[in-house]
Amino acid sequence: MSTLQILFFALSAFAIISAIMVLVSKNPIHSVLWLILVFFAISGHYILLNAQFLAIVNIIVYAGAIMVLFLFVIMLMNVKKDKEPQKQLFVKLIGVITGGSFLTLLVAIVKQTVQIDGKQVMMKEGTIGLIHPLGKVLFSDYVVPFEISSVLFLSAMVGAVIIGKK
């Protein structure tokens, strides 16, 4: 096994275990911290794929900004651990069974797809994920969606202020 494969499987196991811990943690703050670990593992996958820009943006935007927002909201709310609502065991079991059968269904579909048999993902090389080619495409072909996204941010900001102001 090469170093790339070892890194891939280690990061995958880390991501999946952390994602499961997000669900089973009773305390919401622990869930947020586990979710930050999931995002770091996914950023590691981006670095393995040599998508360096997306790896940095993932850490800054998701692990930095969004998760801090979640932590702020949880700490503002003062959610008591013993008062935290729990579903009945029966409903939880049904949810887990539904998720597991959905996973089985999707894996079966992927296994039957012949178009992707033997296709390899290029790792660790290729200049496509660097800032220079991405910036060129972003500011030439995708400049209109880029500007529209700034309008989206403005409207989201106004909406958040109006909703939160009461």
Binding site: Q5, I16, A19, L54, P85, G99, G118, M123, G126, L134
Partner: protein, 111 residues
């Protein structure tokens, strides 16, 4: 690395997110599971981008086939950030009105 491994990893993360939405009642945890599903899709997009880039590179040495997927991932992150700000504001407002973040109180939207 075969593309199958990336597909299975993304499917596992996505289904963990679906299970979380179905099993938890805390609105913030449900929201975090939606973020998890978005990230699983992002990972799959980047993996497919590098797969098609490999094909394009075999034909011409300076092709940028597959760069659109990484731009899409960037826009998904932009939309997710806007969505989180509005969604958390709604959750805070709901907490002010009902003093709880239980999603079972959300089944009656009026009052």
């Amino acid at each position: 690395m075969p593309i199958h491994y990336y597909i299975y990893l993304s499917l596992a993360l996505f289904c963990i997110g679906v299970t979380g939405v179905l099993t938890r009642r805390n609105a913030i945890i449900v929201f975090m599971c939606i973020e998890l599903m978005l990230n699983a899709v992002n990972l799959l997009l980047v993996a497919f981008s590098k797969m098609f880039y490999g094909f394009g590179l075999a034909e011409s040495p300076n092709s940028i086939v597959g760069i659109d997927a990484q731009i899409f991932v960037f826009f998904i992150m932009v939309v997710a950030a806007a969505e989180v700000s509005v969604g958390l504001a709604i959750i805070v407002m709901m907490y002010r009105n009902t003093h709880s973040v239980d999603i079972n109180f959300l089944n009656r939207l009026k009052n």
